[in-house]
């Protein structure tokens, strides 16, 4: 009988711990998509079942440990080797319990969750493409109000905060310059890919997480039910900046989303216009682009982190010629490296627009301690031509 008492105590303890499940800081964060809600339910159910198993078995063990002690003079029962039939019967009991739990109590809901999770198309109203690259996310709206909108989302936490030289902000490591904006209540189909290594786009409150694989498209979906700002991180080790590529999503009502989309399309159109620029304008814009995209490896000063990340200050590429006699860019020139990348250096042609590439090349040639005399500046039009 005492065994049952112990089990009772175990269960009471468990019930007390159920309060814990109500408090999300000890559990998954508050779910805001159908999938995250489902995941939380599945998780809570599993946790309760496994906790019951654990504490019941623990109670039996603890009882045995205290009751069947040599120091208390307990004699080992003369365990006659059990007959095979008895042994089979007893060992089949735990087998049967687990069979029921695995394939009925847990297995059936799990089946439905998987089917729901993988159904990316039914009732989806818009498609976005997410590209992971070292170490930023790039978002592209493929249809709907924001069709054609495309931008890069970079960490904005300052270097001083990372190195404990400044007070850390509330959203330390989880803040970006351009968050992804999604309309509330719409099922958004997400196409996921990567440009260099594996990444994983993850927002805990969405319950969806999918690896971004270079060269392949993977799918997932989200349907955010509640307006708000949601934060997450890359979840697949992707190099030294792995901890520094957060995901931030603003879920807004449809009307607000439409306004945002129109504004963004307008901005993008203006930014993509090719116009002649002065050296100072190029350098000024280049500085912003550089510090957002390049400084993480080549450092703000341009000193790099040799041997993995070469210095730009005094670099042959940054000081050497960009264009040949025929006006075309040279192989292994500054332009070639920016557009096409090499080794660890990513290709930027899909990420930055013509003006940004022209600006950052000019910045690297005229700042960071450099003053190139051959091809001192590069114009957006030249980048446009180089792409063709």
């Amino acid at each position: 009988m005492q065994v049952f008492k112990k089990i009772g105590v175990g269960l009471a303890g468990l019930l007390a711990s159920l309060n814990v499940f109500a408090d999300y800081s000890w559990n998954f964060p508050e779910p805001v998509t159908p999938m995250a809600l489902d995941t939380l339910h599945v998780h809570n159910k599993f946790m309760i079942i496994t906790a019951i198993i654990f504490f019941a078995v623990l109670a039996i063990m603890i009882y045995s440990i205290f009751a069947h002690r040599k120091s208390k003079g307990y004699q080992a029962v003369a365990d006659k080797a059990p007959s095979t039939a008895v042994e089979i019967f007893w060992t089949l009991i735990p087998f049967a319990i687990l069979l029921l739990i695995d394939f009925v109590i847990m297995g059936i809901p799990a089946y439905h969750s998987v089917v729901m999770m993988e159904d990316t198309r039914d009732k989806s109203t818009m498609v976005i493409k997410i590209t992971g690259s070292q170490w930023r996310w790039q978002y592209e709206y493929l249809d709907g109000d924001a069709k054609g909108v495309k931008f890069v989302s970079n960490l904005t936490t300052s270097d001083d905060q990372l190195h404990n030289k400044a007070e850390k902000g509330e959203n330390y490591l989880l803040e970006v310059d351009n968050p992804l904006v999604l309309p509330v209540g719409e099922k958004v189909r997400i196409l996921m890919t990567a440009s260099d290594v594996l990444h994983n786009w993850w927002v805990p409150q969405f319950g969806s997480s999918r690896v971004a694989v270079p060269g392949f498209i993977r799918e997932t979906w989200v349907q955010v039910e509640k307006a708000g700002t949601y934060r997450g991180q890359c979840k697949e080790l992707c190099g030294k900046g792995h901890g520094y590529m957060p995901v931030v999503v603003n879920a807004v009502p449809m009307e607000e989303y439409k306004v945002w989309a129109a504004k963004k399309q307008e901005e993008q159109k203006a930014a993509n216009e090719i116009k002649e620029m002065t050296k100072d304008d190029l350098v000024a814009l280049g500085k912003t682009v550089y510090e957002k995209n390049c400084a993480v490896c080549h450092q703000v000063s341009g000193a790099g982190l040799p041997p993995a990340f070469p210095a730009l200050t005094g670099s042959k590429i940054a000081l050497g010629p960009v264009f040949g006699a025929d006006g075309k860019y040279l192989k292994d020139s500054h332009m070639d490296r920016l557009l096409n990348g090499k080794g660890m250096m990513p290709a930027w042609k899909a990420t930055l627009n013509d003006t940004e590439i022209a600006a950052v090349i000019t910045y690297e040639r005229q700042a960071l301690g450099n003053a190139a005399t051959v091809d001192p500046i590069v114009q957006p039009a030249q980048v446009k031509a180089a792409r063709e």
Binding site: M61, D79, F95, I97, G215, C234
Partner: protein
């Protein structure tokens, strides 16, 4: 008559002394001792690395190291703990105890045995050299991809990746040789009358482990070789641009990697029941059920690999198959847990250090097993995957289930190996410090994982701070308590109270019929099992 026997015996005990004894030895006990010593040293090295990691994670911000160095630490820590600490420990026990337990004079292939061991130190050097050089500012360090080598990151990485690939090759060759040796020994050298179904449970655990190693190590070797050619010879096995697929590597890697979990655990599942029966003074329950369960787990181990990367994207039928097959592992495991506890039930238990470790092992490994069951659920796994929840889970299986099991074995057999009793009081202190600080380290990691902290990040958002601090404090206590373990072992090897042949009151089995320590050559006359 008796004088000739002695002379005969001494002639065989003759062996070189000093370093040559260890370099040239073909004696299973010497080789076992070397494996165990190597394992202990590497356990401390791997532990030191993780203290660096935990120190960095004590508070948000970058304190001690840059992110690249952090990434090297996590990968090398894992490779060392798995390949250079846990696996050699299990092989060391196999060398020491299998011949003693089955009544054989030595292992079947003694020269292979020697070579198997001596491949380990070079591979440990390959593994740690780039890392050590980087500490002195030479080169760009060890692999920074985590222990899983996932391309394209590993294709992008520096020469440290090549070092790790060759280290894994050598370790793999060593493991396969050790496994062949164990299979041959178990099939051919059992004492007369010892049928397979009368073998000690430890021998069964190792037999299945050995088959798993022979089946899966070549796959790992193939995968890392393909990675090597992708890196240097322009092949595109794992590069989509050339028609390859990065996820293909994950399939190959985990085809090895999942059975590897059981490779680390099966030997422990073998000797824990022996410890339980010794200190419960009652034969183990359900011998046959345990053997069949071990086989079932061995078979399931090779067909569930893809649950390690559900989030990489798979068709629905594949997801369902890998989910349900993974859950199925809990069935034989439940039988094993039942048999272990039933062995204790109504025994006459005493709690010397090995028993404390064995009982603590059941409880903590139970947590690892149950959280593993939860991880099998594909939908929930999207949340757990690569979060600290997983880190906590596999430390419950591999530290509690693996290393604490090994510690139980060390305390259990140390008197037999050295001929001296260890310091019981110190052993108990070591157990309680280890068990408590282990939980202080890893329970908070379940919570930060659920709250959304990804693994393998050198710095974290502020909401995770408190739990990480607790975890770091636990890790340092855990690390420092292991010094007691080392001290206890060294003192026990040097001297102490003489151990009897049987050592433990309830010990059963052939190894306890020999003197403590056993003679250089074990059974000169084969025992006969009735």
């Amino acid at each position: 008559m008796s004088t000739t026997t002695v002379a005969h015996h001494e002639e065989h005990s003759d062996h070189p002394t000093g370093i040559m004894r260890w370099l040239t030895t073909t004696n299973h006990k010497d080789i076992g001792t070397m494996y165990l010593t190597f394992s202990l040293v590497m356990f401390l090295v791997g532990g030191l690395m993780v203290l660096g990691i935990r120190a960095e994670l004590f508070r948000p911000g970058l304190q001690l190291m840059n992110p690249d160095f952090y990434n090297q630490l996590i990968g090398v820590h894992a490779l060392i703990m798995i390949f250079a600490a846990l696996m050699p420990a299990a092989t060391g026990f196999a060398n020491w105890m299998i011949p003693l337990q089955i009544g054989a004079p030595d292992m079947a292939l003694p020269r292979l045995n020697n070579w198997g061991f001596w491949l380990l130190p070079p591979s440990a050097i390959l593994l740690t050299l780039p890392f050590t050089l980087a500490l002195f500012g030479i080169g760009d360090g060890a692999l920074a991809t985590g222990w899983t080598f996932y391309p394209p990151l590993s294709v992008q990485g520096g020469i440290g990746v090549d070092f790790a690939i060759f280290a894994v090759h050598l370790l793999g060759v060593s493991s396969v040789m050790g496994s062949i040796n164990i299979i041959v020994t178990l099939f051919n050298m059992r004492a007369p009358g010892m049928t397979l179904m009368k073998m000690p449970m430890f021998a069964w655990g190792w037999l299945i482990t050995a088959f798993l190693l022979v089946a899966t190590i070549p796959v790992l070797a193939g995968a890392v070789t393909m990675l090597l050619t992708d890196r240097h010879f322009g092949t595109h096995f794992f590069d989509a641009a050339g028609g390859g697929d990065p996820i293909m590597f994950q399939h190959l890697f985990w085809f090895f990697g999942h059975p590897e979990v059981y490779i680390l655990l099966l030997p422990v599942w073998g000797f824990i029941p022996q410890i339980l029966q010794t200190f419960s003074r009652k034969p183990m329950y359900g011998y046959k059920a345990q053997v069949y369960s071990l086989w079932a787990i061995g078979a399931l181990a090779v067909v569930v690999w893809a649950h390690h990367f559900f989030t990489a994207g798979m068709p629905v039928p594949a997801l369902l198959y890998f989910m349900y097959s993974t859950m199925a592992i809990s069935l034989p495991l439940a039988v094993l847990f039942f048999c272990w506890i039933k062995t204790m039930w109504k025994g006459s238990m005493s709690f010397e250090t090995p028993m404390l470790f064995a009982v603590g092992w059941i409880i903590l490994f139970g947590i690892g097993g149950l959280t593993g069951l939860v991880l099998a659920d594909v939908a929930a796994d999207a949340q757990y995957h690569n979060s600290y929840f997983v880190v906590a889970h596999f430390h419950y299986t591999l530290f509690a289930g693996g290393i604490m099991g090994i510690m139980a074995g060390v305390y259990y057999w140390l008197p037999k190996m050295t001929g001296h009793m260890y310091n019981e009081k110190l052993g108990k202190v070591h157990f309680w410090l280890t068990a408590i600080s282990f939980n202080v380290t890893f329970i908070p990691q379940f919570f930060v994982g659920l709250a959304g902290m990804p693994r393998r990040i050198p710095d974290y958002a502020l909401q995770f701070t408190e739990f990480n601090m607790i975890s770091t404090v636990g890790a340092f206590i855990l690390g420092l308590s292991q010094l007691l373990f080392v001290y206890n072992i060294i003192m026990c090897a040097k001297g102490g109270q003489k151990a009897t042949d049987k050592v433990w009151e309830g010990a059963e089995g052939l190894e306890w019929t020999l003197s403590s320590p056993p003679p250089y050559h074990s059974f000169n006359e084969q025992p006969v099992i009735k």
